[in-house]
């Protein structure tokens, strides 16, 4: 009897431990720009884009959504944290005094796709080789895409905002 009790307790403890260690689930919201669900990070790839404005941290579906919304709705300095090809390695794109800057060597894809594929169509990469791998992997959506600079991505996002006006 005592043995059974110990076994049950051990099982409960094991269960609680497993539950406790389950992957962290994020607070999921709609993208404030495109109003589609924000695609969550996976164990192997980051997807959530965050815009930091003072103490605010707003999540977006893709880097283009974040930059377009920054253009449209935010005054002053801010930072966009964009996922890259490497899990856990987001890059910081900053707008300071109206000027956008990002880490040297960063390239972007800004290939017009149906917006439900915006994670593939608008993204940051730490180098050109990573960009090429992404295009190869997602050729159904982004075949023929060329790498663009941050300035070009900002221009695409601004046009997106202009077309909404």
């Amino acid at each position: 009897m005592k043995k059974n009790k110990t076994l049950i307790l051990a099982l409960i403890t094991a269960f609680l431990t497993i539950v406790g260690q389950a992957p962290v689930r994020a607070h999921e919201a709609k993208c404030p720009h495109c109003e589609l669900d924000v695609v969550q990070d996976t164990p192997t790839l980051d997807n959530e884009v965050a815009l930091k404005y003072g103490k605010k941290r707003i999540e977006y579906r893709c880097v283009m959504c974040a930059i377009a919304d920054a253009d449209k709705n935010y005054k002053g300095d801010l930072t966009v944290l964009a996922p890259t090809e490497t899990k856990g390695k987001r890059i910081e794109i900053a707008r300071k005094g109206g000027q956008w800057t990002g880490p040297e060597g960063t390239v972007f894809i800004a290939h017009k796709v149906k917006h439900r594929y915006c994670q593939a169509g608008y993204r940051a990469f730490t180098n050109k080789a990573a960009f090429d791998t992404h295009v190869q992997k997602n050729k159904l959506q982004v075949a023929g895409a060329e790498p663009v600079t941050l300035a070009q991505l900002v221009e695409v996002a601004s046009k997106e905002f202009e077309s909404e006006k």
């Binding site: 406790g20 389950a22 962290v24 689930r25 994020a26 607070h27 999921e28 919201a29 709609k30 404030p32 495109c34 109003e35 589609l36 669900d37 404005y53 003072g54 103490k55 605010k56 941290r57 707003i58 999540e59 709705n73 149906k114 917006h115 439900r116």
Partner: protein, 534 residues
């Protein structure tokens, strides 16, 4: 996206409605509407339910029956917050102008000329509450009972906010006065609105439903903007000092004038508990009555806009709509009763929120909210843990931002949810003292301020299973010490100041589970179809 979901969802339900009976154009008329616009689907099959044969005499009465305010020292105290008082005065003009134009043959220019006239009034609100009857005299002559129902329930609106804005009453006295006003409302006249939660899908699935919002999206947007204001003002005032009420309305008034009045993409009217969940928890009967009143506005607007009905049919359907939401039609029924599922006598309410009937596409567990997706009223919107209910409901903080008010489980959830939401925010954070909550205001950049300088917090972040314990606010260090004396588990807890607390940001909650809609619900089906096209 919202727009696409809203319009397609409306179209789907309109399609469903047209599977009932009747014939097109049977009732083209001159007084209301203008069939040439043809915004409604031409159907061959619409069946109008008749008004029950046995209805009380009051429904057909032609007398004026003007009953005025209940006496009280609080009357007109809404003028303590003048911008809100003026905005409410303008709402009365807006309602009356639209109704009068609809019945005197000016419906064709409702979304243009009438809209402009109303909009001017909204931007230049009258200093005193107008008599709606003086603005909409034709409407009053034809729909006297309807006007009485509207007017009487608007008096309840006016007097309850007078109480909340009063500086002459304690919080306890305010609660008591509000109940007295409710009694006065329900016992003085026979035409009170039911306090029961009504099935909103049923009310908005009549053969004529959604006609008005499709044909006159701008004026419908104004109506829903008024209803947003008439809902959100309750939590903005409830349990707050006059200074907090004024500061809160500075944020909400701007949002009302800049955004809420001009939204044409809402999928449903703003529900009371979506914008004032604290008041709805405390006074569910009043929240339900206001939702039912606002739904009556929608139903009547849709009837007026339905050109396929004859004038006689319209008159009958207006009476039927009043009857459906009247207290008389639901005597001896109680909240939670389901005499007919998804029908007139379905009084189920959202889990965790007795002040809200079931919503379109949802069930008792979840409802769909524009911009938020599926959500549960019973759980924290930040960490998904169950919210306190009943006598303990006051312990849940709230966050007001982006036009909604959400209940959360702990101060950390409130702070982080505000930080993760665009724009300014109002945080209501209960302390150990029910009568002294902390009012916190967030600017556009998430900087938090409060006027309770001595407030302290404990925040020892762990699993959100117990966040209501490890994240708490206190009015002072002495109050925290007293709490620790009675709760030895907290003896190692460290007090942090408001500023230290405001500078923090917690981890993403480990307990969060994204709510999903009921299987096969039409909202997700429409959304996935639309996503295919994006």
């Amino acid at each position: 996206m919202r727009r696409i979901i809203a319009s397609t969802f409306c179209a789907l339900l309109a399609g469903a409605a047209t599977t009932f009976g009747a014939s097109p154009g049977d009732g083209a008329h001159e007084m209301m509407g203008h069939g040439e616009h043809g915004a409604q689907p031409q159907t061959t099959d619409r069946k109008l339910e008749p008004l029950p044969k046995q209805v009380p005499d009051w429904l057909r009465n032609r007398k004026k029956n003007h009953v005025f305010y209940k006496q009280g020292k609080f009357n007109y105290d809404i003028y303590n917050i003048k911008p809100l008082a003026y905005d409410l005065n303008a709402v009365a003009v807006g309602h009356a102008m639209a109704y009068e134009d609809m019945v005197i043959g000016k419906a064709a220019t409702l979304d243009t000329r009438t809209f402009d006239r109303i909009n001017w009034v909204l931007k230049h609100p009258p200093r005193l509450m107008p008599d709606e009857a003086a603005i909409s005299s034709t409407f009053n002559r034809r729909f006297g009972v309807l006007e009485q129902v509207f007017d009487w329930t608007h008096i309840l609106h006016a007097q309850t906010v007078d109480v909340l804005a009063s500086t002459k009453l304690t919080e306890k006295e305010k609660d008591k006065k509000i109940e007295e006003l409710w009694q006065y409302y329900t016992t003085s006249v026979p035409y009170a609105i039911t306090p029961l939660p009504m099935n909103m899908a049923y009310l908005d699935s009549q053969p004529y439903s959604m006609a008005f919002r499709k044909r006159y999206p701008k004026v419908n947007g104004l109506f829903w903007g008024y209803h947003w204001l008439q809902g959100i003002m309750y939590d903005a005032l409830y349990g707050k000092t006059l200074d907090h009420q004024k500061a809160g309305y500075k944020i909400l008034g701007e949002r009302y004038h800049e955004t809420e009045l001009y939204k044409t993409d809402r999928s449903f009217m703003p529900m009371f508990a979506e914008v004032s969940p604290r008041f709805s928890q405390k006074f569910p009967h009043i929240a339900n009555a206001f939702d039912n009143l606002h739904m009556l506005h929608d139903m009547v607007n849709d009837i007026f806009t339905s050109d396929w009905m004859t004038e006689e049919q319209k008159d009958e359907q207006v009476l039927r709509a009043i009857w459906i939401v009247s207290a008389d039609a639901h005597r001896h029924e109680k909240a939670g009763d389901v005499k007919e599922e998804a029908g007139m006598h379905d009084h189920r309410f959202m889990e965790g929120m007795p002040g809200m009937g079931l919503m379109k596409g949802g069930d008792q567990e979840v409802m769909y909210m524009d911009g938020m997706g599926w959500m549960s009223m019973a759980d924290c919107h930040h960490c998904s843990m169950a919210l306190p209910e009943g006598d303990e409901a006051w312990r849940a903080p709230t966050v007001t931002a982006e036009g909604w008010t959400m209940r959360v489980r702990c101060p950390l959830c409130a702070r982080d949810m505000a930080a993760e939401t665009k724009g300014r925010a109002i945080l209501h954070i209960p302390t150990e003292n029910q009568n002294h909550p902390l009012a916190v205001f967030s600017d556009e950049q998430g900087n938090l301020t409060t006027d309770m300088a001595n407030a302290v917090f404990v925040e020892e972040e762990g699993s959100h299973r117990r966040c209501h314990r490890w994240s708490q606010a206190f009015t002072s260090k002495a109050a925290l010490d007293e709490f620790i004396a009675g709760n030895p588990d907290f003896k190692t807890s460290r007090a942090i100041s408001f500023q230290q607390w405001a500078d923090r940001h917690g981890e993403k909650p480990d307990t969060y589970v994204k709510p999903v809609g009921p299987p096969g619900n039409p909202i997700d089906e429409v959304a996935s179809t639309n996503e295919e096209d994006r």
